[in-house]
Structure formats: structure tokens, C-alpha cells
């Protein structure tokens, strides 16, 4: 550890939009390794469109990176430097030397989506990845999960039971470009379905997670009186969908597509003690008048507010995220970023602006990340699952 601790972290990034999965993997990996100047990478991050032949993509990357630890997933767009790869855009690869860190990952597939299983999986993967990485004064647990596993906060909670507050928790849920059918995780040569992984980043210094969203509350707070799984069934004792439509003056007969087009612009915010809000996006109405949310729902007894935002307000947090993340670490070698797929959808044609502004704010520090279906960032208390946010950690 002491020998590697003296070495600076070196990173290289690559991307490819080739339609040939194998060629795309090789090209992005080759470009990522090149800046390392022959130094051995310790970690490879891969974020890609789900449209690829994933085994061929992974084989292409591994043909270049060999057996170096690899983690990643499919998403809903990638952030590579100032570039934004939208839906179907391609693959981004980040190669990192160990520098002052030690990396280790543990993963599991086919995880049951009930609360107990997710909590247990979070504990088990945090424990085993920490075991493999070894002890250190500080660390970050970078989580990547399937977005279709149910209440992802239960997984975060399981991880937090093992880590406590000195270990940063950050990451994002894999996606499939907003189809919500199947997302995939990568761990070395394996492609995991219904999976989760914990990448343990052992560090001698604290690692700080930053998350911001740019949404503002409107109207009166609402009380969650019934919630099941990832569905808010009732607000204030009435149908959640009815109350939501009432607050926004929406007709009750919107098509699912029309409802989604509006609800993505009006997520719920859970009020926190410091006045901030944790965001939850209502993805669809259910047949019984409930609201299906993305990732996890507020607990019964929780107060929520309908939020509003605009492309400008969402993009407006970008510089603050970067400056706060780099505040303690001006010598950072890379800024890992996790933005929400919903943000990209809201931004529409302006989506590339986010990646460009991230990189402009970060200056010489390369940025790398993907668009998630839930962002993980534990900053206060046990709650660490978010929607519609921009999250970052500097290494």
C-alpha cells in the first residue's frame, strides 16, 4: 500500500460509436489505455448503450485490458469528457491506475427484489468487496445495480449497515434507455441480469459525494398514507394519482405517454431536515389509482411535495456539483459523474450541454459517467437513493 500510495492516479478515457460491438469495445479501451503510458491499469469502468451485443462488447474491451478488474453497466447515455453519448450512442471506457487507491469489487446476479434480499445483498457485497480491498482509513463504495430490482434504497441501506458514515456511498442504477425492460451489469467477463455490484475504493483520505438537482417545491405538502413496493397508493387517504392530478390541474384520462411526459417534469420531493429535497419520479399511473415511482418510494408517514424544474434550473446545478466535488480535492485525476436519465429526457436537445458544462467546470480534470435510473449518494442519514439528480465524486 505504501509503495502504491506514493504514485499519482493516472486515468485515460475512450469512447466509440461504432455499431460493431467488438470493434467499439476494442477502440474505446485502446484509447483509454493510451494515456497511461504503459502503466498497468487497476480498474476499467465501462458504460454502454444496451443496444450492443454485450458479450461481444465486453470481449472487445477485455481483449485490450486483459484481466484488469472491470465494472460497468448499460445506461441511458454516457458522459465521456465533454461528450454526451445519447441513446444508442456507443460505449465509454475509463482506465485508471491504482494511484493512492485499492480497488476491489463483488457482485451478484439474480437477486430477489424483496426488501430483505436487497438489504442482505447490500450487506454481503459491501462486506466481501471490503474484505477483498483490505482496510483503509476511508473508502468509497461505488454501487451499480439493476434499476428493475425494486426498492433500491433497501440495497443502499444494507451497504450502509456495513460501512457507517466514514465510507462514501455513490453510484447509479443501470438502465436500458428508459424502456424499463432489462438492464445489465458488467463485472470482469460476466454480464449480470437482476444484479448488483459494489466497487470498494480504499483510500487514505475522505472521499466526498456531492448531489444536486435544481428542482423547487410547489403547492402544499402531501402525506403518504399507503405505499406498496415501489408504488405510492394513497396520499392523504385518497388515490395518489387523483391528488397528484388535482395539484397539477391535469385531466384524469391522459394516455400513459402523455402522463409520463408531464410527471417527469413534476417529480415528488421528500423534505429533509436541512430543507433540501430527495427527488422521486412518478413513472406511471397504476390501474388502482396509485403512482409507480422509479427506484423507491417515500415510507408511509413521509411528507412529499410536487416539484417543478426547467432545463435551465437543472443545468444550473452543474457548476456547483463540480466545484463542491473538487473543493477538497483540487488535485483530482477524474470526476465520476452519475446523472439521471430523466434529466436527459427533460433536457432534450440541450442534453449535451450537461456533459459540456461538467467538463468545462472541471477544467483539466476529466469527467466520466453515465445516465442512471436512480443515483446513489448518501450525504446525510441512511437515505442514499435519488432520482433526477446530478451526482459526482472526485478521485
Amino acid at each position: 500500500m505504501s509503495e502504491t500510495a506514493a504514485k499519482p492516479l493516472r486515468v485515460g478515457k475512450g469512447m466509440s460509436g461504432s455499431r460493431d460491438a467488438s470493434e467499439a469495445g476494442k477502440a474505446a479501451a485502446t484509447a483509454a489505455l493510451e494515456p497511461l503510458g504503459g502503466e498497468q491499469p487497476a480498474l476499467i469502468l465501462v458504460f454502454a448503450t444496451p443496444r450492443y451485443d454485450l458479450p461481444a462488447l465486453l470481449a472487445g474491451v477485455r481483449s485490450v485490458t486483459g484481466s484488469t478488474l472491470l465494472v460497468g453497466c448499460t445506461g441511458s447515455g454516457e458522459i465521456v469528457g465533454g461528450d454526451y453519448l445519447g441513446f444508442g450512442g456507443g460505449v465509454g471506457v475509463l482506465a485508471m491506475t491504482a494511484g493512492p487507491y485499492r480497488f476491489a469489487a463483488s457482485s451478484a446476479g439474480d437477486i430477489a427484489d424483496d426488501a430483505e434480499s436487497l438489504d442482505a445483498a447490500g450487506q454481503a457485497l459491501a462486506r466481501s468487496s471490503r474484505e477483498l480491498a483490505g482496510t483503509s482509513p476511508y473508502a468509497a463504495a461505488l454501487l451499480i445495480t439493476d434499476s428493475l430490482l425494486g426498492d433500491l434504497q433497501q440495497f443502499v441501506q444494507g451497504v450502509y449497515r456495513v460501512t457507517g458514515p466514514r465510507i462514501a456511498i455513490v453510484g447509479g442504477a443501470a438502465g436500458d434507455e428508459q424502456r424499463f425492460v432489462k438492464s445489465s451489469l458488467f463485472h470482469d467477463d460476466a454480464i449480470l441480469d437482476k444484479g448488483a455490484l459494489v466497487l470498494w475504493i480504499a483510500s487514505d483520505r475522505p472521499l466526498r459525494v456531492v448531489t444536486r438537482h435544481g428542482w423547487q417545491p410547489i403547492g402544499a405538502p402531501l402525506l403518504v398514507t399507503k405505499a406498496v413496493g415501489t408504488e405510492i397508493v394513497e396520499l392523504g387517504g385518497r388515490s395518489a394519482a387523483e391528488i397528484y392530478e388535482e395539484q397539477l390541474n391535469l385531466p384524469s384520462d391522459l394516455t400513459p405517454a402523455a402522463f409520463w411526459a408531464i410527471s417527469i417534469l413534476h417529480p415528488f420531493g421528500l423534505t429533509q431536515p436541512d430543507g433540501s429535497h430527495v427527488i422521486r419520479v412518478a413513472r406511471a399511473k397504476t390501474s388502482d389509482g396509485g403512482l409507480k415511482t422509479q427506484g423507491c418510494v417515500p415510507s408511509v408517514g413521509g411528507a412529499v411535495q410536487v416539484m417543478v424544474g426547467s432545463a435551465d434550473s437543472l443545468l444550473g446545478v452543474t457548476e456547483e456539483v463540480v466545484s463542491t466535488a473538487l473543493e477538497d480535492r483540487p488535485d483530482a485525476a477524474v470526476l465520476l459523474t452519475f446523472s439521471c436519465a430523466a434529466r436527459a429526457m427533460i433536457l432534450g436537445d440541450r442534453a449535451p450541454e450537461e456533459a459540456a458544462r461538467l467538463q468545462a467546470a472541471a477544467g483539466e480534470t476529466p469527467t466520466f459517467g453515465f445516465y442512471c435510473c436512480a443515483e446513489f449518494a448518501r450525504t446525510a442519514g441512511v437515505m442514499g437513493t435519488h432520482n433526477a439528480t446530478l451526482t459526482a465524486v472526485a478521485l
Binding site: 451478484a108 430477489a112 474484505e131 477483498l132 482496510t135 457507517g164 402525506l223 408517514g301 437515505m383
Partner: protein
């Protein structure tokens, strides 16, 4: 447009009401105390953005033990909070009112556990029973955001209810004590089962020996060569001897010659040979450092230990998968007491060399894990059930220890820790 002040007042009222209703719903749940306490601490952590929440109970020795917590990392789960006079917990117990601490880092009386977790603000709240203070609820934040009076007023409202939970906890602890005694009785039964299994194994082998010798006797009487029957008898006798040797190993009395040993080098030598016999759908990967510190050990025993752990991992992965073997340095502080296989072991101050064997197999539930290292316990159709018992014996004979973490459906990690050789 509603009046902003009125709206804020309404928001606060709604928030407090919902906090109370949520906590009441949890506290009224007839679930086991451990579940209720877990839900309470998680709810409080969410509601008050508290990084650490712990419900503590005095243990009669000037300390407080944790009944339930969130935010205490695993290595601190068994740690005891200070109940000494002058400390925050003692002040809350004596005064029977909340003790609030801001800028807690470096503050006199702050518990070392919270200091280690870099807690900036903390609230210590006495849990009042009908006659006495039953415990303390502590909430800590890592950011300089103090708990408000309305926060603590609300929490105090709930503390009587939490007191009832603590009284239930006491009753359940008493029951747990009785169950522990029952488990001891079950262990005695397990010993009986083990004795019967040894007798059965040896009897089988000796019956075979006697049978072959009788056949040999017949061959001699008939003037024929008895060599084949004598060799079969010898093989059966050797088999019986192996059972005995493995039992001695389990008991830590079968240690072969010890010498300074490079564990990573031993793994490098043996893993390729041992992986040759694995199924084709099993991959084996290793992370073995160069120039790792030496341990004192028996190469033959280490090889046997490695073989049993690999076999165990392979058998747990019926659908194939990967076995990962990592050798690295470790310190006593990171050894999780809750995962120790033999809980009587206490860590010294020294450093260790850890060999972790992980698999992505079926994992073990608590029941299987409790018995996994008992001799002759097996969940498989074949085998004597001595593999993990031998592993434990080898570890004990090397003055080491063994931790296991396992989750059904996810896999298991067996970590063997050997003390480093003395320089």
C-alpha cells in the same frame, strides 16, 4: 398564492405529524423486538438525517451496550459506549432530559465511538421507564446542523413508547439466554452424534478389513495367493486411519512439521494442481502478492486446507461460477467478531496474513452456517462431512482464526487469518 409563512407552518406541522404517525405505526407492530428496534433506528435516521442512531442500554458495568443501530460500521457493532460520569450518556441518564452537543469533535464527554465516526452534532436522550431510566437513544450527524428543540421534544414524546420496547428487549434477552442454554444441550447432542458417526465410520472400515482378512485366510487354506485380499484389507485399514487423522486435525493435534512459509507462493504452487480437478464450468482466479510476509506453518496442512476450501466452493456452485483466492495482509481490528467461526478466539495486537476464498455459489443460511464446521455435518449426498472440520482444525493448529460471511443465493467468503512469523 398561499402565504409563505403559513405554508411553512403547515409544512412543519405536517412533517411532525407524519413523523409521529410513522413511529407509532412501527412501535405498535407486534414484530420481534429486534425488528422493531431496527425499523425505529432507520426511521429516525431518515426523519432527522442522522448518520448514526443507536439505542443503548446500561450493562451494569459502567458501559452501554447497543440494542439496535444504523450507521455504526460493522467493526464497531459490538463496541460499548461509555457510561462514565462526565460523559454525555451519564448526563442524560442522571438529568433525565436530552443532552445536545454541537461541535462535538474534541468536546469533553463525547463518546470515543462518535468521535471516531466524525460526528459533529449529537443528541443524547434518556429512555424513561416507569421507575428508572432504561437506556439512552443517541443520534449523531456528521454535519454541523444541530438538533432543534422541536426535534428533541418530538423524540421525547416517543421515548416512553421506546421504553416499552426496551422492556420487551429485556424479556427477549432473558429468553435468548434460555435458548443459549438449550443450544448448549444441542451441542452435547451433536457430540453424541459425532461419536456415533466416528464409531460408524471406523466400524465400516474394520468390517471391511476383517472381511478381506477372512477371504485371505480362505485363500491361504486353499493354497492360493492371498495378496489381493491382503492389499484390499490394507487399503480399508488406511481409509480408517485417514478418518482418524482427519479427526486429529480437526482437534488441532494433527499438525505436521512447521516452518517459515510464504503463503502466496504455496498458493501459486498448489492452485494450478488443485484446479486441474475442477468441473469445466468453474473458473479459479487469484490475487497473490509478491514478497508477502511469512507465516509459520505446515505446507502439507496448508495444501489440505486449500484443497478443502476449493472443493467446498466448487460444490456450492452447481451452475458454475468463479472461485477467487486472495492473499493479503490484515490487522486484528478488521476481524469481524460476528463472523468468527470459533468465537472463543480473541485477536492479539499483531498483523495477520489473510487468505480469502470466495465463491458465487448457493451460500449458506444461518442454520447451515452454524453447523458447517461440525465434523460429519454435510448437506451433500456424498462425502463424510469432514472437509470444513479439517479446515477449522488446521486453522486452530496454526493459532489462526477463520471468518465466514455467506448469503443464500449470493455466495460465501471464507477468510483464514494466520499470525505472521516472528522475525
Amino acid at each position: 398564492m398561499p402565504d409563505p409563512a403559513a405554508l411553512e407552518e403547515y409544512r412543519t406541522a405536517i412533517r411532525d405529524t407524519t413523523r409521529l404517525s410513522r413511529l407509532l405505526a412501527i412501535l405498535n407492530d407486534p414484530a420481534p423486538v429486534v425488528v422493531v428496534v431496527d425499523r425505529v433506528v432507520i426511521a429516525l435516521s431518515e426523519m432527522f438525517a442522522a448518520d448514526v442512531v443507536a439505542l443503548l442500554q446500561p450493562n451494569g458495568q459502567g458501559e452501554l451496550t447497543t440494542i439496535g443501530s444504523i450507521g455504526l460500521p460493522e467493526e464497531l457493532k459490538g463496541a460499548r459506549f461509555s457510561g462514565e460520569a462526565g460523559g454525555c450518556a451519564a448526563a442524560a441518564i442522571q438529568s433525565r432530559v436530552p443532552v445536545l452537543v454541537e461541535h462535538a469533535i474534541g468536546e469533553a464527554g463525547m463518546d470515543p465511538i462518535l468521535t471516531e465516526l466524525e460526528v459533529e452534532t449529537a443528541a443524547w436522550l434518556p429512555v424513561l421507564g416507569s421507575r428508572e431510566v432504561l437506556g439512552v437513544l443517541v443520534l449523531g450527524r456528521g454535519q454541523p446542523l444541530g438538533f432543534s428543540r422541536s426535534d428533541t421534544d418530538m423524540m421525547m414524546t416517543m421515548l416512553h413508547r421506546i421504553g416499552l420496547v426496551l422492556e420487551r428487549a429485556r424479556a427477549e434477552a432473558e429468553r435468548a439466554h434460555l435458548e443459549s442454554r438449550l443450544r448448549q444441550a444441542e451441542k452435547a447432542e451433536s457430540l453424541g452424534r459425532m461419536a456415533a458417526a466416528i464409531a460408524h465410520q471406523l466400524n465400516n472400515k474394520l468390517t471391511a478389513v476383517m472381511g478381506f482378512l477372512e477371504l485371505a485366510h480362505g485363500e491361504i487354506a486353499a493354497g492360493r495367493d492371498p495378496s489381493t485380499d491382503v492389499e484390499d484389507a490394507q487399503e480399508a485399514a488406511r481409509d480408517a486411519s485417514r478418518v482418524g487423522l482427519q479427526m486429529l486435525t480437526y482437534l488441532g493435534q494433527g499438525l505436521r512439521g512447521r516452518e517459515p512459509l510464504d503463503l502466496a507462493a504455496e498458493c501459486r504452487e498448489w492452485i494450478p494442481q488443485l484446479s486441474g480437478g475442477l468441473r469445466k464450468d468453474i473458473r479459479i482466479r487469484s490475487e497473490l502478492p509478491e514478497n508477502a510476509p511469512l507465516i509459520t506453518g505446515s505446507p502439507a496442512d496448508i495444501r489440505e486446507l486449500l484443497a478443502h476450501l476449493i472443493t467446498n466452493a466448487e460444490e456450492s456452485m452447481s451452475a458454475g461460477g468463479e472461485i477467487l483466492i486472495v492473499v493479503r495482509e490484515a490487522v486484528a481490528a478488521e476481524i469481524e467478531q460476528s463472523s468468527l467461526v470459533h468465537s472463543a478466539w480473541t485477536p492479539g495486537d499483531g498483523r495477520y496474513l489473510c487468505m480469502a476464498v470466495s465463491d458465487s455459489g448457493s451460500g449458506m443460511d444461518a442454520e447451515v452456517l452454524r453447523n458447517a464446521f461440525d465434523p460429519f455435518f454435510t448437506t451433500k449426498f456424498t462425502g463424510r462431512g469432514l472437509g470444513l472440520a479439517v479446515v477449522l482444525g488446521v486453522v486452530r493448529a496454526h493459532d489462526g482464526t477463520l471468518t465466514v460471511s455467506s448469503t443464500p443465493g449470493v455466495g460465501s467468503v471464507f477468510s483464514v487469518l494466520f499470525p505472521l512469523a516472528r522475525a
